[in-house]
Symmetry: C2
């Protein structure tokens, strides 16, 4: 009966297969997570780094805005034991981990508290390790994704391979990377995914805790205008991110390897991130949130290649609805275009006008 | 009636939407082109560079092996007036052009002779220019593709954007890049393509004029093990290709910018390419064909990220069949998984056992 009660593409007990990427520092904050949860999607809070109180606070603020289940994401690059403890104590529905290995004991610990574990990976090998650790869901991230990018393979090539590795273990695979609308959702389903994980499209929503300037820029850049770079945030975490190829970025993208966002760099702004004041120096890794002031145009703006398909700022619930309703329409159209006609072709010899009308009738009813 | 007579996904008058990439030098030769044509796909000969007689010879050899229509591809990087003349004189069904602009006068000239023009592009801007020139079909090539790669955007982000730019002009868009099996075919259809253009998967066929060693290597490399590089063939054409990240390639991939395949480089083998003897020096751009001898492991092996899904060497007709039959099955499954259940959900209040059996019946009949 559970299956039946789920709406289009439900996974992990959620109504549908639309997952909000836990975008840091606090872009995927309480408002956005609650909006996605209320729309039946899987909202993932970007958890504060290794901070018990702040994580609890963010979770409780989200709970005020929704009574639906939601989760949180943590980065395995850093010690996040305190944030994970908070997530367990608050009994969230799920915990997403990324950028590193999450050992079986930790997965077991989460399970003991009824928390499902989602592991985002960028390669088949990392998927194999996640499966061995007993995770409940795998997010396969393609290189076209925005923000931190762990792999080098495009979704078209990576996703079916990870689906094959999962096999019949019943672990849903979710696709991440440039899926800005329903066409990408159905493409992901065709490749074997059970859902999609979405970042960039959700930044351009009313509820995202991103700066207006950042949201607006997403509407003006195309798929051609992103770059994969390790220029930002090097002081704490040297890793590739995909970001908008802004004039500032073009000017600095080939900066020497030893350039980093340390005290030699000028201050370009200030932010409050999860109640904490942060000074932003040039090449800082933090995107601009609602509180940020300073040289907004010189701050990193993380985005995937799917940015070319993002053309409006709308409520997050509307984003989820467009994915789900759009996907249904596309699947119907695929059936109408390719199945009925090919069936006709097979039955061509028996075909007559009456029979054709018969098909039209069934098509209307069924697709 | 034409529409009805086409099989799954027919475009440009061919039975189905499976297009063979014109892989050089002579990998997409008469045998492979004829095999794809005989299976109802669009076989594209890799035309010899600007050589009237050799192009006519290759076309006539292909015509001996098939009475189905087929086409040929030419590179706009080089003057190819003589090859194009041969293609027109031989009245092929279509001409594919790549890597540059093909002016309206040339498109008109092809049309005057009943030849359809296909333009492969890697960006929305190039697609706009092709539309303005009046082409009949656009191939959208993602950065995950093998061989020469003109763009930088993954298919998931590029394809729907090009489909939108085409709009309702009735120009089919074909997807190229890492589509090694039916899942990718349906993903491309979902993103708005009408067909797929396939390279790597067709190299691992009995009919491809590739060296056995090259074919075998495709079975052993994964999506993780390709590289985008301009190391090869620099003497004649400096451009990015995607190739297998072999031990040889790993050793040399960061070679200085001025290293090229000139007379300073040792001879590593010999080939006969379209009846012409060719000396292969280190970093030559030519892949190994059936005649090639020498250090095969030190020659470039072009392949897309879809190589991870290529696991057998089979007849090319079987490849086409797997795409077409597999795509039908996947579209059926998408309908069964997402449409019937969601319909059930909507009608949940009226739902009873009899009604459910009714759906099962319709499902069997229709999907």
């Amino acid at each position: 009966m559970l299956e039946k009660k789920m709406k289009f593409g439900g996974i992990l007990g959620f109504d549908n297969g639309v997952m909000l990427a836990p975008m840091g520092a606090d872009i995927s904050g309480p408002e956005l997570v609650a909006a996605v949860a209320n729309a039946g999607g899987i909202g993932l809070l970007a958890s504060p780094v290794n901070d018990y109180e702040m994580t609890v606070k963010a979770i409780q603020e989200t709970k005020k805005l929704t009574d639906k289940p939601f989760g949180a994401g943590v980065l395995l690059e850093f010690d996040n034991a305190k944030s994970i403890r908070a997530i367990i104590d608050e009994k969230l529905a799920c915990l997403e981990v990324y950028w590193g290995d999450f050992p079986k004991e930790m997965v077991d610990e989460a399970h003991k508290h009824g928390i499902k574990v989602i592991h985002q990976v960028g390669s088949v090998k990392a998927a194999e390790r996640a499966i061995a650790a007993g995770v409940d869901c795998i997010v396969a991230q393609g290189v076209e994704a925005g923000g931190h990018v762990v792999g080098s393979v495009a979704l078209m090539a990576l996703l079916p391979r990870i689906v094959d590795v999962v096999g019949d273990r019943g672990i849903p695979v979710v696709a991440a990377g440039s899926i800005s609308e329903a066409r990408g959702y159905v493409a992901a389903l065709a490749l074997g995914a059970k859902g999609i994980c979405v970042g960039t499209r959700f930044i351009a929503t009313k509820e995202a805790y991103a700066n207006k300037y950042y949201k607006q820029q997403l509407l003006h850049y195309t798929e051609q205008e992103t770059d994969l770079t390790d220029l930002y945030g090097r002081l704490t975490w040297r890793a590739n991110v995909r970001c908008l190829n802004t004039p500032f970025h073009q000017q600095w993208r080939n900066a020497p390897d030893d350039v980093q966002n340390d005290e030699n760099q000028p201050i370009i702004g200030y932010s409050i991130i999860y109640s904490k004041e942060v000074v932003l120096r040039r090449f800082a890794g933090q995107v601009a949130n609602r509180t940020t002031c300073g040289e907004l145009e010189n701050m990193v703006m993380l985005a995937g290649q799917g940015v070319g398909l993002v053309n409006d700022i709308i409520p997050a619930g509307e984003v989820v609805k467009r994915y789900v309703e759009g996907a249904k329409t596309i699947i119907k159209e695929l059936g109408e275009t390719y199945l009925i006609n090919s069936r006709k072709k097979e039955d061509e010899k028996e075909e007559d006008d009456e029979k054709e009308e018969g098909w039209t009738w069934i098509r209307k009813l069924c697709l």
